[in-house]
Amino acid sequence: MDKILAVFKREYMERVRLRSFFIATIFGPILMAVLLILPAWLATRTRISTDVSNIVLIDASGTDLGQRIAGQLSRNGGNPEVRQVAPDGVAAAESLATRQVVAKQREGYLVIGQETVSGERARYAGRNASTLPDMRFVEDAIEQSVRNSRFEAAGIDGQRVQALSNVRLSLGTERLSERGRGSAGRENVVLAYVIAMLLYMSIVLYGQSIMMSVIEEKTQRVAEVVVSAIQPKQLLAGKVLGVGAVGLTQQLIWVASGVLLVRFQAPIMKAVGLAGAPMTMPSVPLTTALIFLVFFVLGFTFFTAMFAAAGSMVSTTQDAQQVATPLTMLIVPSILLLSPVMLEPGGTLSRVVTLIPFTSPILMPVRMSLTNVPWFEVFGSIAILVVTCFGAIWVAARIYRVGVLMYGKKPSLAEVGRWIRAR
């Protein structure tokens, strides 16, 4: 036991010390922060700037349309300046306004004429001409003004029409399925997705990583020194546990920083000068969280033990890719099946794939975060996974025992079979 601990400690400490671990670990929270701040920041980019009404209106229409538009624009604050000109004075007025825009006294200028009154066109030139929301606001202001003057000409109260036609409705949505109502809120879908991705990423990354470390021990000829002091299965156990602990450490840092980010979202957003949208934390009961942990530990152990055994079969990194492929093939279905399971977490397909030990470590937590899974299915799935896990570790230990001292050519399947049966 002491010796397994020594291997565990070495594996854990050397990995946590790596720069790549540090980068990957802080990258998670940074990515989450970006995902949190970016939408809010993008939203500010799509908001109308306050400068939008700080413009010159060159009115050659000979009507009060310029004043009306100025009235509409100033609803957003600011003070548009209306310059009444004769149609042949437009050019002179424009060059004056251009100078003012260049001198940054004004944001831009709008030219309206008889064709604007008839609702055909207007022209705008300004610093913010490529800012879509600003231009839409100006366009709206013009259209509204033209409409209002037409209403008045027809003897209708424009203000009243506007007030009456203003409806702001919000549609509440709720999902119905054959298993009942309200199966999944939007937060739970996000949660399920995050869980699946975290599990998948850590299994693939750490599976590859333990495989490389086994090959490294072989190519650097350390394996024989270690195996002279400790049984191969103890070495395997120490490595799998050590790498598992590293993965768990990283996950905990990610999850904790995710929780903190959501929890303190408002102050953080205020600090960077953005208004945050309210976020709700999907509620996960403690028992469910513990079951997630069980699936993580079992799934992780299962796959890393298999990857370690695969690594022990080969002596070069080129061969490693070949033996890793079948293992990756066992993991990828979990991701392919993610959408079907999320669409119908209570369906037959979901129930089957959450019992299969290759897919259950990822898909059962996903399913559980979306819907209520009967307890016998949860524990049945865990039982199957535990049995498979022991089987896989047994096989992995036997392959590892022989493979770790084998050099040279990649063994055939028949040879690996002999290794497993060997005394």
Binding site: D2, K3, L5, A6, V7, K9, R10, M13, E14, E217, Q220, R221, V222, A223, E224, V225, V226, V227, S228, A229, I230, L405, R418, R423
Partner: protein, 320 residues
């Protein structure tokens, strides 16, 4: 007398061939023991079985009176594999601490021993502490020292070295010989394999020669020489052998075997042949004899005699 190592009839088969066949050996405590044989003779397989890295198909192995499969027994043994290897990315001190922990030496005690060894092998000096460096920053010679420290850090009673002299420069080679003799003085047992007969002959108290997986002979070096040596002569010729001289040396009625080193020959007389007759015939053939001396056979000679030239494969040499 307690045996440091008691091997009884071990056999290891691989698909298609037998690597070690019915091998028995007894190594008394406090001796330096040589396991000799050409490449592919089964030395490494035997050593791996001693350390329970692989299990023998038949037979048993006891270390200091207890089976090597019992818990904790192998903590008494230190092992230097033929293929040296260390975790290259690890700091030397942490690596050594890990190796010590694997053998059950922990914490402050491990640190104390590591420092003592680093000082002793001048890996830690006033200017530079290589213990704080990463393994791959060390030169090859220094890495070998670190590997050696790792083998001895837990103060094993039985030290097993697989081809310890291969790849060592003369200075490190001498340092290794000194260390082996020092271990012996401290009452430890050292077993090492080698294909370098000269080293074995000078250092070992006892040897075992194996070829093709089987024991050819074993025993104390002096005893082996007395039992297995025929009548041996050392012959020195000025200017080497002429055709006429070669003819004499190839006469199997007098000379059973002549090991030609150009100006120096190791000669084994045929049974019943007389050394005086050989000397006379050599002089008659025009040889200028500088040296003609009755000697004990070298291990190399005995090896050739017992295993035969067919047992000698590439890498086999009498000189080291």
């Amino acid at each position: 007398m307690t045996l440091a190592l008691d091997i009884r009839s071990i056999t290891k088969r691989y698909s298609g061939h037998v690597a070690v066949r019915d091998l028995s050996l007894q190594v008394p405590k406090g001796t330096v023991y040589g396991l000799l044989g050409p490449n592919g003779a089964g030395k490494t397989t035997t050593i791996r079985m001693l350390l329970n890295i692989i299990a023998p198909d038949e037979g048993s192995i006891a270390i200091l009176g207890r089976l090597n499969t019992e818990k904790g027994v192998l903590d008494q043994a230190g092992y230097l594999p033929e293929e040296r290897g260390l975790y290259r990315k690890m700091q030397v001190r942490r690596l050594l601490r890990f190796l010590a922990e694997l053998k059950g030496v922990k914490g402050a005690e491990a640190d104390r021993r590591i420092d003592a060894w680093l000082d002793k092998l001048s890996l830690r000096t006033a200017e530079k502490d290589w213990g704080a460096a990463k393994v791959d920053e060390l030169s090859r010679g220094m890495q070998q020292k670190v590997q050696f420290i790792g083998t001895l850090l837990h103060e094993p009673q039985l030290v097993i070295l697989d081809e310890p002299f291969s790849g060592l420069d003369p200075i490190n080679s001498q340092a290794l010989k000194d260390t082996i003799l020092e271990l012996r003085r401290a009452g430890r047992t050292v077993l090492f394999s080698t294909h370098l007969m000269d080293n074995a002959e000078r250092m070992c108290d006892a040897v075992c020669i194996i070829a093709r997986g089987e024991k050819v002979l074993d025993g104390a070096v002096a005893q082996v020489k007395a039992e297995h040596g025929g009548a041996h002569l050392a012959l020195g010729l000025a200017g080497g052998a002429t055709a006429a001289v070669s003819e004499v040396l190839n006469d199997r009625s007098i000379v059973a075997r002549a090991d030609d080193h150009n100006r120096f020959f190791e000669i084994e007389l045929s049974p019943g042949a007389d050394a005086q007759v050989l000397l006379r015939r050599l002089v008659e053939s025009g040889a200028i004899v500088e040296r003609f001396e009755k000697v004990q056979p070298s291990l190399h000679q005995i090896f050739l005699q017992k295993v035969g030239a067919s047992g000698i494969e590439d890498g086999m040499t009498g000189h080291g």
